[in-house]
Symmetry: D2
Subunit: 133 residues, 4 copies
């Protein structure tokens, strides 16, 4: 199951080509990811309080059509692959029916010192469980 969220492009997102600056799509991906967790009742800030961090280890974006100022974009986010020590998120950015961009981010679960950790079975399930009653 995927999470959808809307974002309206501001002037500060655009560049002089009149479209959203490419690096800013990764901010949209982050918004999608935050909501993905929230929908499952997992707040990323709570993970951090427990000493679990989820830094981005790899990021990729395929730009299909340039989003413009004041466009309302729909951010779709879901997990493509997961283990107890890593997550791969997939994203789609749409404007109405038009696909604007596709992307992925790969994350590792690490402790405060940056060492890779394995989640408990319970923590892992809470984040990745598809069955949301």
């Amino acid at each position: 199951m995927n999470q959808k969220i809307l974002y309206r492009v501001i002037y500060g997102d655009t560049d002089q080509m009149g479209v959203m600056y490419h690096a800013n799509y990764f901010r949209l991906f982050e918004i999608g990811r935050n909501e993905y967790f929230r929908l499952r009742g997992v707040l990323y800030r709570d993970l951090e309080k427990k000493g679990i961090f989820l830094p981005v280890k790899e990021a990729w974006c395929d730009y299909i059509s340039g989003a413009r100022y004041d466009d309302v974009l729909e951010i779709t986010c879901g997990i493509q692959k997961s283990t107890r020590s890593s997550l791969l998120f997939g994203y789609r950015i749409l404007r109405g029916d038009e696909l604007m961009a596709l992307g992925t981010t790969r994350h590792a679960f690490v402790d405060k010192a940056g060492r890779v950790i394995r989640l408990s079975h319970e923590e892992y399930s809470a984040m990745t469980e598809e069955g949301l009653s």
Copy 2:
């Protein structure tokens, strides 16, 4: 004595009006401020290690002419006013001889918990001393 440093505007700084997005001038001010300290042998990161933080309490910018992609800007930064618990920095952004923007930021010295602190006389002098031997 003031510190001068150069910055070249990138695409990511611009907006669809073809000039640097107004919020990004405050990034330039930060660059100037960092160099101000460095010139005096005070590294802001060392201050943080000692538990001294210098958050921005107020920021102001007057935009005179819009900086464009690939412009080389000169950032001038100096202290306009200082006490043992606060600093007021002044900035000028120039493109050659042309004044592009003026600004100020006001800062408080705080500890990790955010409480205002007073620097020791020695710490204060190191940051604000004009005579750089």
Copy 3:
């Protein structure tokens, strides 16, 4: 009459002090300004199509309390002063009842070449009219 809009702080807004980087508050102000116009049926992108631009000439922010990751902020925006060639917007950023920041931005109406223009009475009223039926 003022416009209220909500914004949730993302990781990309924060800095290593654990609060929203000061320059990013000006992005929030822009969001508020966009919604101010939208509420009055004036889309800023339509203004641009008519050759009317509204660059920021001056910006100011007073930081009262640092917004944190995942905070939901309320952006309030209203016009403090207006003429047919300039607008002064005022902003408040709140987290629940707590005032986080105050600010203003001053804008000029200019044409594509950057020359200051005066709005027609009709255009001016549409933007600043308080009576929204």
Copy 4:
């Protein structure tokens, strides 16, 4: 032949994990790309004046070690693959001898309307020629 350029991380680049926010590495890549062109006597802004644009069609970054505030990073940029209608740039971000990040961006040459164009042989050579006398 590759182009090297230095960049000092500012506070505004970091996030609350205390490292450079992942999206900002793509700003560094842009800095490298600009300098790549400059070294060959090709200014990207001149290309735009001739009606040639080079939007990012795909971007990828592998994060190896997190860059910190005040770190001086070295940006290396070179062309990995090129045709008369596209370029693939490769980047490495180093801190001293330590590899911090690797990445690529793929670009298409397009006209103002966004249609893919083919460079003349002369234009193409100027951009990609390795022999810089």
